[in-house]
């Protein structure tokens, strides 16, 4: 690789995209492209690797799902089962319908926040 480097400015996104395609075709290394707004197709033109963030998010969601189930199982079934409004509290499965809303909320909570942090 040569040690020469070029800084190029464009005032139009179509020109930029065409130029990037041309440069990539000639196998010249592009260090970075800065744009003030998203230019669609730029990541593919630059041959950037697609991001794995959606897969990571799915796993974060699974973590939230598990945390919610373990927490409620411990609190409501194992540690101190109580008879609340006659709802069955002897096993997790019997009490599960009442846990669905919180399981859902925690799944979303974990997925969204952990994704944004990463």
């Amino acid at each position: 690789m040569s040690s020469k480097s070029l800084h190029v400015l464009f005032d139009d996104d179509d020109n930029l995209l065409d130029a990037v395609k041309e440069v990539v075709k000639n196998k010249i290394y592009i260090n970075e492209v800065y744009t003030p707004f998203p230019v669609h197709g730029l990541d593919k033109a630059m041959k950037l690797k697609p991001t794995n963030i959606s897969i990571a998010t799915f796993m974060y969601g699974c973590v939230g799902f598990t945390v919610a189930i373990l927490m409620m199982n411990y609190i409501m079934i194992v540690d101190w089962p109580q008879n609340i409004g006659g709802k069955p509290s002897f096993s997790f499965i019997e009490n599960a319908p009442a846990f669905v809303p919180i399981i859902f909320e925690l799944t979303v909570f974990f997925a969204a926040h952990l994704m944004v942090i990463t």
């Binding site: 179509d14 744009t35 003030p36 998203p38 991001t51 109580q82 809303p101 859902f104 909320e105 969204a112």
Partner: protein, 461 residues
Amino acid sequence: MSSHYEAPIRKPLILGDKSYHDISNDIARPVETPPDKDWWIAFSIAMAAFLWGLGCMAYTLGTGIGVWGLNKTVGWAWDITNFVWWVGIGHAGTLISAVLLLFRQKWRMGINRSAEAMTIFSVIQAGLFPIIHMGRPWLAYWMFPIPNQFGSLWVNFNSPLLWDVFAISTYLTVSLVFWWTGLLPDFAMIRDRAVDPFRKKIYSLISFGWSGRAKDWQRFEEVSLVLAGLATPLVLSVHTIVSFDFATSVIPGWHTTIFPPYFVAGAIFSGFAMVQTLLIIMRKVSRLESYITIQHIEMMNIVIMITGSIVGCAYITELFIAWYSGVEYEQYAFLNRATGPYWWAYFLMMSCNVVSPQIMWVKKIRTNIIWSFVISIVVNVGMWFERFVIIVTSLHRDYLPSSWTMFSPTFIDIGIFIGTIGFFFVLFLLYARSFPVVAQAEIKSILKSSGEKYKKIRDKK
């Protein structure tokens, strides 16, 4: 130009002869110029209302919940009415930004930022009510399942009120990160334009060092899409869970399975009305008519009309099911709503929510700014009365006629409600002066496909 093709049948979303730089100028202008007199007047009124509300809250907390108009039969009234009203208003913001993003509706780009701001500010107002109603808000942390010194005393996960805690806090925080993620490039734009070093410092802190690399944009778009995917079921779940507060009880008029979809439709309905109210003023004041066009207003009016019809349909279904169920108490609850002592509230609800949006069928009216503004206010009033009707009329005549009673609010009830409206507008006015109120990075990405100037160039070819 081929990559920016859009069907000629679509009307331009950005009016006027705008270049990329014009967009930056237009959106940064309210942030970079000092506020004018009108802003200060509006801000003072909102602040006064907020301080009045704070006084009423302090009085409530100092003296006790007895200062409200509640009694033994009507144990829930304005507090929960206001709570549901504010949460409902919040729903439109997420709907606009998340659901319309998934459906690739480009008209959302002019309005999503302000709608999300409205979501966050109104959920804050909603959250105040249950916290004040606790009477001892400094113990609010008892709502979380934290190991404690009272023996192993835990919160009750079977309770819909606890589901609410989780739903609302998840909703508030997820909306906040969604909003802020979208704001990063726009804060960075203001940072790069700033001359004042202090301003530059602030905006570089809140833009988290955004630089606009191609990789950043790739991640940005992926994160927005996944967040939208997560926020869509979330927004539907939040009002569903709010409706569970009522639906899981055994009060006639509450104990119905129609509540979740009915509440969600009502939430979208009232939320769009509030977005309409705010944006009609904002486009004028901040001179954003090129980005928030008549077409945007018309689109929102269509959503208001459709959700208003869904809500009307739900009202009628409720009446039918009450009759068809053969349950005496259920039948009486609905008869009492329409013809009992609170008939006027029921009448207001029906006329504001079911009848008023129907005039939007006329194109002249739904593209008229004054009409849209008036109807949006009427809908907001109507939706407040809907919650009041559901809550108070079901409670005030319960199973035992000897405990039948009426509810009348005290000035503290009214003061706290006015205070939250003031607080909401304080936040919104501050936002309008310090945040980029239109998602400029997204607008720029559709300028070539949906801008009026570029459409004209294309048509000539």
